[in-house]
C-alpha cells in the first residue's frame, strides 16, 4: 500500500515537473505568436487583434531582401554540406584508410569548438587570403560549421545498415558508383535529407559565425533581426518569428509525410 502511494505520488510529481518545464520552454514562443497579432505599438500590453506588423514587415524591402539572401545562402550551404558530408560518412563506413581516426577527431573537435572561436579563426583566414567579406565567405563559413553535423547524422544511419545488401550488389556486377547510386542512396536517403534539413536550419539561425564573416554587400535575416532586437521594442520581430515557425512546421509535416510514404 505504501509503495503504491509512493509510486503514485512519484507519477504525479513527474507529470507536474515535465509539464512545468515544457510550459516555460514554450511560453516565449506563445508570447511571440500572440504578440505578432497585437495592435499595440508599445509591445507589452494587448490592444486587440491586428495584422499591422505583418503589413509593416512585407513593406520593409531591406527585410525581404535579407530573407531572400538568407534562404539562398542556407539552400546552397546545406546542399554543398550534404554532398561532402554524406560522402565523408560513406568513406568512414566503407573504407579503411590512413589517417581515418585523425580525420574523425578533427571533425569531432570542429563540432565541439566554441562557435565564436570558429568565427574569428575564419575571419583571420579570409582577411589573410584577401577574400572580400560577403556571400562567398558566409557560404564557406556555414559549410564548415554544418559539416560535422551532417557527417554524424548520415553515419548514424550507415552504422545500422545491412552490409550484405551492398555486397550482393557488387557481386552482381555493379560498380562502386552504381551500387551507391542504386542501392545505398535510396536506403540512406532519409538520413541524407535529415542532414540537409539540419544544415539548412543551422545556417538560417546562425548569428555568431555570420556576425564576423559578413560584409555590407550581402545582408542576411538573422543579422537584420539582431540589429532590430538590440534597440528597444520592435513588434515586427514577432511577425518574422511567427512566419519562420510556420514555415518550419510545414516543412516538418511534409518530411514526416514523405517518411510515412516510404514505409
Amino acid at each position: 500500500m505504501t509503495s503504491t502511494t509512493i509510486s503514485n505520488a512519484m507519477k504525479w510529481f513527474s507529470r507536474l515537473y515535465l509539464t512545468l518545464i515544457y510550459l516555460v520552454l514554450f511560453a516565449p514562443i506563445l508570447v511571440m505568436v500572440v504578440f505578432s497579432f497585437n495592435a499595440s505599438k508599445v509591445g507589452y500590453t494587448w490592444a486587440g487583434f491586428s495584422l499591422h506588423w505583418y503589413y509593416e514587415l512585407f513593406s520593409n524591402e531591406a527585410m525581404i531582401q535579407a530573407a531572400i539572401n538568407s534562404v539562398l545562402l542556407a539552400v546552397v550551404a546545406a546542399t554543398v554540406t550534404t554532398v561532402i558530408g554524406s560522402l565523408t560518412a560513406l568513406s568512414f563506413q566503407r573504407y579503411d584508410f590512413k589517417g581515418k581516426s585523425v580525420l574523425q577527431s578533427l571533425l569531432f573537435v570542429l563540432m565541439m569548438s566554441p562557435e565564436i572561436v570558429l568565427a574569428i579563426s575564419l575571419l583571420a583566414l579570409f582577411l589573410m587570403i584577401g577574400i572580400e567579406l560577403g556571400f562567398v565567405t558566409l557560404l564557406l563559413a556555414h559549410i564548415t560549421f554544418c559539416l560535422p553535423f551532417v557527417v554524424i547524422t548520415v553515419s548514424a544511419r550507415l552504422a545500422s545498415l545491412d552490409n550484405s545488401l551492398l555486397e550482393a550488389a557488387r557481386d552482381l556486377g555493379a560498380s562502386e558508383f552504381t551500387m551507391i547510386r542504386t542501392v545505398l542512396l535510396p536506403i540512406i536517403l532519409p538520413a541524407v535529407l535529415a542532414g540537409w534539413v539540419l544544415a539548412f536550419t543551422l545556417s538560417l539561425d546562425d548569428v555568431v559565425v555570420s556576425t564576423f564573416n559578413t560584409g555590407a554587400s550581402f545582408e542576411i535575416l538573422p543579422l537584420q533581426i539582431y540589429s532590430m532586437v538590440r534597440v528597444g521594442v520592435k513588434p515586427e520581430v514577432n511577425a518574422v518569428g511567427t512566419i519562420l515557425l510556420g514555415i518550419s512546421l510545414v516543412g516538418l509535416l511534409i518530411s514526416q509525410l514523405l517518411l510515412l510514404k516510404k514505409r
Binding site: 511571440m32 565523408t88 568513406s91 580525420l103 571533425l107 583571420a124 559549410i143 560498380s175 562502386e176 538573422p222
Partner: protein, 300 residues
C-alpha cells in the same frame, strides 16, 4: 562472352571505387585543413603577437596578451563572465538531470513525443525567442504584470539588464543541449544493474551514488561541454538581455576583434576557450573509458 568481360569489369570496378574514394577523401581533407586547421593555427599565432593599428598584428612575440587575464582590470570582467556561464551550466544540470531521467522512464511513444517537443523551439529563430523573453522579463512586462495582477508582488520585478536575465536567457536557450546527452545515457542505463544494486542491499541513495551517477557521468560531462562553452560564447544573449555590465567571454572576444581592433588579446581569449574545451573532452574520454572497463568486468 561474359567471361571475357568479367575480369575487365572487376578491374574497372576496383578503379572506380578507388577513384571515388580518393576524390572524396581529398575534398574532406582539404576542407578541414584549409577551413579548420589553418585558421586555428592562425589564431594561436596571433595570440602571441602585438597589436597593430593598420595591419591588426605586428611582430614582437610576447605573452603579454595572456598576462592581461590576471590584470586586475580584466580579472573582474572575466570572473563575472565565467561565473554567469558556470551558474547557467549548474542550473541546466540540476533541472535537466531529473528531467532526462523522468522522460526516459515513460513509455517509448511518450519518449519520442517528449523529445520532439524539446526540439520544436529550435525551429524558431533564437533571437526572436530572446526578444520574447525580453517582453516577459521587462519591468513593465508580462511576468511582472501577471504577478502584480495576482497580488503576489507589489513592485515590478527588476530582472531585465541584470545578470539574472543573462543566466535566464542562457538556461532557456541551452537547456535542451544538456538534456539530449543525459537522455541518451539514461536510455542506455541497464535496469538490471540498478535492480542488482537494490537486491544486494543498497538503499536508494547508495544506488544513486555508487551505480547510477558513475554510469551517467559521460552524459553529464558532454552536457556540460554542450552548455558551458556556448554559455561563454553567446554574446548576443548578453547584448539583448544583459545591458553593458554583464558581459560574456564572447562579448569580450567580439569587441576585441570588431571594435577595439586588438586581435592578439581577442585571440588569446579564444585560445583559453579552446583549452577549456580540450580539458572537458579529455574528462569525457577518461570517464567513459572507466565505465567501459567496469561494464566489461560486470559482464564477464
Amino acid at each position: 562472352m561474359n567471361k571475357s568481360i568479367l575480369p575487365n569489369t572487376a578491374a574497372n570496378l576496383r578503379n572506380n571505387g578507388r577513384l571515388f574514394q580518393r576524390v572524396t577523401l581529398f575534398v574532406i581533407w582539404a576542407w578541414l585543413i584549409i577551413f579548420a586547421l589553418i585558421p586555428n593555427i592562425l589564431v594561436v599565432l596571433a595570440s602571441f603577437l602585438t597589436r597593430d593599428e593598420d595591419k591588426f598584428l605586428a611582430l614582437p612575440v610576447t605573452i603579454d596578451n595572456y598576462l592581461r587575464f590576471v590584470d586586475p582590470l580584466y580579472v573582474k570582467v572575466f570572473l563575472h563572465s565565467l561565473s554567469m556561464a558556470s551558474v547557467t551550466t549548474i542550473i541546466c544540470l540540476l533541472l535537466g538531470y531529473p528531467f532526462a531521467w523522468l522522460v526516459s522512464r515513460t513509455s517509448k511513444r511518450w519518449q519520442s513525443f517528449l523529445m520532439l517537443l524539446l526540439i520544436i523551439p529550435f525551429w524558431t529563430n533564437s533571437l526572436v525567442r530572446l526578444y520574447a523573453v525580453k517582453l516577459i522579463m521587462a519591468a513593465n512586462g508580462l511576468l511582472s504584470s501577471a504577478l502584480i495582477g495576482m497580488g503576489l508582488i507589489n513592485e515590478p520585478l527588476q530582472i531585465l539588464y541584470t545578470e539574472k536575465a543573462v543566466i535566464g536567457g542562457l538556461v532557456y536557450l541551452l537547456f535542451p543541449f544538456m538534456v539530449l546527452p543525459l537522455y541518451a545515457v539514461f536510455t542506455d542505463l541497464r535496469q538490471d544493474i540498478v535492480l542488482a544494486s537494490k537486491d544486494l542491499g543498497a538503499n536508494k541513495f547508495q544506488t544513486f551514488w555508487h551505480v547510477i551517477l558513475p554510469l551517467t557521468t559521460p552524459g553529464i560531462i558532454s552536457g556540460v561541454l554542450l552548455v558551458l562553452l556556448p554559455a561563454m560564447g553567446m554574446f548576443y544573449v548578453a547584448d539583448i538581455l544583459g545591458g553593458s555590465r554583464n558581459l560574456l567571454v564572447g562579448n569580450i572576444i567580439k569587441s576585441q576583434f570588431l571594435d577595439a581592433r586588438d586581435w592578439p588579446f581577442g585571440a588569446a581569449a579564444s585560445v583559453l576557450l579552446t583549452l577549456t574545451m580540450a580539458i572537458l573532452i579529455a574528462a569525457y574520454y577518461a570517464s567513459s573509458k572507466r565505465i567501459g572497463k567496469t561494464d566489461h568486468n560486470e559482464v564477464a
